[in-house]
């Protein structure tokens, strides 16, 4: 994979690159700060699957300040190319995005989004997709601002009694 060149953000310059094993503690901590829930086993498993295997179609990217000086990552995005689920032609799916709250509104989310979009294009797909909880206004506003629109699918679910 091509490691993205440093991306200039409004107030902070970050570089977007592939995740490394040494980043996982930061990913776990960032996710816990944002969601209030620690999920170390989940994130280690995600790293095993998306950070080390089938890297031509799986992308676990992190944003770190260019002048890191030991500072931890300030965001991450994860996605993969999936094909033929629900009858869909190959498409890039984004299933995780998080940005350090104190660094938001500085273009880091956009840098991550643009980087994974570029990876999907390099992988040969022309469309990307995600799913957001209806009440998750922050993520909905972000993805909308990046040009994402409602797609041709409707998500359905059922309570199992």
């Amino acid at each position: 994979m091509n490691v993205s060149s440093p991306t200039t953000a409004d107030a902070e310059t970050v570089a977007v690159r592939r995740v490394r094993a040494g980043d996982i503690a930061d990913v776990i901590a960032l996710d816990e700060r944002v969601t209030g829930l620690a999920k170390p086993d989940y994130w280690r498993d995600v790293f095993d699957r998306y950070g080390e295997r089938r890297l031509n179609e799986r992308f676990f990217l992190v944003a770190e300040p260019v002048a890191a000086n030991g500072r931890s990552i300030v965001g991450f995005i994860i996605g993969e190319v999936r094909a033929w689920e629900f009858g869909s032609a190959p498409c890039g799916w984004v299933f995780a995005l998080s940005v350090e709250p104190r660094t938001r509104l500085h273009g880091i989310g956009r840098a991550l989004f643009d980087s994974i979009a570029a990876e999907f294009r390099r992988a040969g797909v022309g469309q990307m997709r995600t799913m957001v909880a209806r009440d998750n206004r922050l993520h909905l506003m972000f993805f909308r601002s990046e040009g994402m629109m409602a797609g041709p699918y409707i998500q359905l679910e059922k309570e199992l009694e």
Partner: protein, 151 residues
Amino acid sequence: MNLQISSRLAIFALLELAALPEQQVSVAEIGEKYGVSSHHLAKVMRALSRVGLVRSVRGAGGGYQFSGNARRTTLLDVIRLFETMGPANARAGAAERTPAARALRELLGEIDDVARATLGSVTLATMLKLVERQRTPARRPAASAREVPAG
């Protein structure tokens, strides 16, 4: 779904003003562009002014100027100034207490929830991008899902 005329006018006016935040635009100019009476539009502008989304500029060349935050103001914020976007109230009458009416209300509520989530996620800044895209339509892939079920 349909929006009331005041909501539509408010969105159109805000997009006009937010596109040129340094400039003042008169009610007459906006009214002419969208084919609406200045009288109706003036009432809408006063409502937007009361909540700080626009400010009136007096004097020659006066009009209105955008004074809100385009990256934080959603379409739902604007629409709620002019109409209710809550769940539909139950109608009176025996039929409305039937399981069929409750089931229908639940389904319509699902549609309302999606409409609110959509309108609440699109900011004026995002709308300006969509407007720009309409001006320069790019070739877009067909949006229809394949009919083949997951296999």
